[in-house]
Symmetry: C2
Subunit: 333 residues, 2 copies
């Protein structure tokens, strides 16, 4: 886990400087100095989409600021939630006079700070609504779904939210369709190796050379089992079956699908995993619509993969297909 | 270096099955079964662009098949050149009646097999031209540039070739502009950790916990020096200065730039490297045009990064900006 960095304490700020140096469509600012927003704000009257979260997960969170996606992102330190001030900055940057949807992962610190920021924004006349990404089936039982962590499925929610907002829907409509998308989205991951927070001297967990952790969170939170490393097909089966147990994958269903790399797993291996997921979907007579395969939500140099599925209806499918463009993901018309 | 795979001997074929299962714009076929081509061939009369190479470098090579880029790719085993038959398959799949440019990296086996395939295609009436990617400054001295390896700079050449062909230029014009692009392109990489070929039991090289290899090739070929791991800024400086020594980075120049991850290096770190490259370019009064930051050419789970620069003229800049779309890279109009 050797790192190409300078001062570990400047990791996030230097990353952000590099980000806006590379992509002139993004601006870095706010009172916190930790808010990334579109350099060209969206038109007046569009519902704003704000997010935020800890660093170390690129392209998540801040890499999804762009047309048809997010308006602004509050940026925390590595694996730490964003400050209240950066959440306020993101809400203000996203505001175009039609209210702001705060859409972020279900983590305690993020919720507390976004809730406080939302109250302060409301006092300033900015109407806010909130939808949480809580798609990780491994993090709590189905009857405690409100305790579940957000993982890679939030990328679908960003797409739905961004497309609904660009289409001119009002805040309650945008929040409503994103909630429906969230209810239809589930994820699970498998970790093979840890990562190391730049300011730490040790990896964030230990795992044997022949082990995998099923259901591990993107900060190394414990999963549901530690098992012998299995084949790609077996791992794909485990992930598919956990999601199929909770989603209505009936014959004729259509799904958005993401096989996500956690950082150090080669694209080749993600495609081998996808091969088996595609077979399972085919056996279930479920059609994947423009599957996404790659590193969309990472834990720096962690090895492993996750599967996210969102069951589509006509409206969700149309919103997924709408054009979008950010530095690390493009959906062409 | 735990892998999400099934049978190591089936790594490449299963990867290809996953690729075409994920991306219906690609087809897998040819007599070799190892040729990836556009599912919808380009229009008659377009110059074909064929490439090929060993597996283990995704998105390179086969991930760049798509509109405005490649027509077909011959796929070898991991870190092994494609067979003559797969090269023939790629040339035939790329042929739309206006000749085919064979554009691939400067490796002995690839050259031998593509040369033989080109001769056989010529006998079948398909005119072929060849341009080699040989951008790695660390692999031979400037006066032996014909010995240099091809690394990430070939992505620029794919873009130039694809755009020139889509614009309706003839084979000699396409080959001419790609040769000029190649003459203006240089790359260098730094490796921090090895990878493991799926059929091997050991990593492809050894390196100390506090070391880096400057100039290492994408198969683990030795570089120009092994040194103590330096800061991101120092690594960026080393890479920038090696390229600046060979390229006319004069005030007012415009360049295409790629900070490429070799597989396991987080996007955050690539952005920190870019931050310093951008500063150096700024000091030299050189303007980077839409820099690319990410995993474009990998060595499976190798950690490290490379820098590629191509000095632009008006024509090359226009070709870089032309629309293009493949599974892992989109250039929007």
């Amino acid at each position: 886990m050797k790192k190409l960095i300078n001062d570990p304490a400047r990791y996030v700020d230097e990353m952000l400087e590099g980000l806006v140096a590379a992509f002139p469509g993004l601006s870095l600012g706010g009172e916190s100095g930790r808010c990334v927003a579109r350099a060209q704000p969206a038109r007046d009257g569009k519902v704003g989409i704000a997010t935020g979260g800890g660093s170390g997960h690129l392209p998540l969170f801040t890499g999804y600021v762009g047309e048809g996606l997010l308006d602004a992102c509050a940026v925390g330190n590595v694996f730490e939630g964003p400050s209240v001030q950066s959440c306020i900055d993101a809400i203000k940057a996203a505001d175009r006079g039609a209210g702001v949807l705060c859409l972020y992962g279900n983590y305690g610190g993020d919720r507390m700070n976004f809730d406080m920021a939302g109250e302060m924004a409301s006092a300033d006349g900015i109407e806010c609504a909130t939808v949480l990404g809580a798609d990780d089936v491994a993090s709590a039982a189905p009857d405690e779904a409100e305790k579940r962590r957000g993982v890679a499925g939030i990328v679908f929610l960003y797409k739905i939210a961004g497309a609904a907002a660009e289409a001119g829907r009002d805040l309650s409509e945008v929040a409503g369709v994103v909630r429906r998308a969230a209810e239809n989205t589930r994820s699970i991951g498998v970790a093979l190796s840890p990562c190391r927070v730049p300011t730490a001297s040790e990896p964030n967990f230990r795992i044997g050379d022949d082990e995998m952790e099923v259901g591990m969170g993107i900060h190394g939170e414990p999963g549901i089992s530690r098992a012998a490393l299995a084949t790609a097909d077996a791992v794909a089966d485990i992930m598919y079956e956990r999601l199929a147990a909770e989603l209505p994958l009936r014959p004729g269903a259509r799904v958005a699908a993401l096989v996500n790399g956690l950082g150090a797993t080669p694209l080749e291996e993600l495609l081998i995993v996808w091969r088996q997921i595609a077979r399972r979907l085919g056996q279930a007579e479920v059609t994947p619509v423009t599957p996404m395969i790659g590193n969309y939500v990472t834990s720096m140099e962690m090895a492993g993969a996750s599967l996210s599925l969102m069951v589509l209806d006509e409206e969700l499918e149309a919103l997924m297909a709408a054009p979008a463009s950010c530095p690390f993901w493009t959906v062409s018309p």
